[in-house]
Subunit: 259 residues, 2 copies
Amino acid sequence: MRKPLILVTNDDGITAPGLRALISYMKDLGEVVVVAPDSPQSGMGHAITLDSTLFSKEVVIDPDNPDIKEYSCSGTPADCVKLALQVLLQRKPDICVSGINHGSNSSINVIYSGTMSAAIEAGIEGIPAIGFSLCDYSWKANFKTAERAIKQIVKEALLKGMPKGVVLNVNIPKKTKAELKGIKICRQARANWKEMFDKRVNPMGKEYYWLTGEFELLDKGEDTDEWALSNGYISVVPTQFDLTAHHVIQDLNSWNLNE
Amino acid sequence: MRKPLILVTNDDGITAPGLRALISYMKDLGEVVVVAPDSPQSGMGHAITLDSTLFSKEVVIDPDNPDIKEYSCSGTPADCVKLALQVLLQRKPDICVSGINHGSNSSINVIYSGTMSAAIEAGIEGIPAIGFSLCDYSWKANFKTAERAIKQIVKEALLKGMPKGVVLNVNIPKKTKAELKGIKICRQARANWKEMFDKRVNPMGKEYYWLTGEFELLDKGEDTDEWALSNGYISVVPTQFDLTAHHVIQDLNSWNLNE
């Protein structure tokens, strides 16, 4: 039987330690091809490159693993997936995994996440897809504790198949192996960012801003990803890309729009 | 009674004719403040600016309307909304409208849309929000035919309030006033883009790509935005930013993840 083809991508760029960790776990499960941005793309949401050109080239990042083909791409994570599927891969991948992101993509962060946009792009194209994020922004974060869980989730996805129209958003708390309690299927917690803009003046006297903020959790449910993460569980949120709020269509039909 | 405060933004940039049209319609309904990107941001999805600085300045684009404050911003549409709410506006807006986009944001395009990301950002912050798009990419598109419908939708939103966790994605077909049949509440059609990459070689011999593609409608339902648009209706899709696929949580709980 042919080994499953696993497309690996991310948003932190092709040299990020989180990507290197994910590649090393995936090569135990199948044939790995990497197509990842040539520079960090955090916060890119579901951006795609429409108004400029895309460059891509085969690269060797890890000479110890010559079997793994790797391509860097000048575009966004969604661009990487599109380019992989249409141009770079010889056959349709059996699964696409994105990450491991350096930092959380739980709750409302899924909307801003380049990691998840890659997974969603693959999902739109009908490919089972999973985004992985570790709740630790450090470049030296310890990805090793999550190896077993990540492999188990990918194995199950390959075995059971992904529900139609859904990709998985997996977040891993910053815990030791002993502290990790297990894996929980969750819903996305309701939360938002309380933005703050740090206003400064540049040497030429022009004002500018840095976007900063505080995460504001508004949701005390124990079935949420935030609850799982703060209680030592890996959270798995099934994430859809049909954004229709079907439950309010009836209400809106009472609006006076066609008098 | 104080007039409603209307925040107007877009993704085509502060000088785009579609934005100017929307401003002119909104000034009949309330006090207008404009915060829009200083350059086109199409396809930006829900990108935000994390790794660089944001510039913003008050500008005068339309000297005939000195009452309307306008700010340009160096960031993405989502950045514009964040900056407006936290820094530029004196009070919370009663509604945020984004557009009128030059080109469709129906169906799966909502995911890539800068226009809709601005509306969604406002929605996350608890502000009623609507994105408007005209299915005509031309810079000389005729926005006038949709004036009455756009005003009616905004008036109803101000009157009835927006359902919680929902923003509206409004698309307007390219039709004459006589051909327009009315406004329909719809669901997002299932569709995707069949990408094609146009491969070229630059003068230095380096290969590069342009992303192009064909829209592939997979959904023959008559309750979709695509059906409405191709039958002469303005489509209104309630769009949510909780991406949880609640209906598959039970299924995923049968996966073997914690043996």
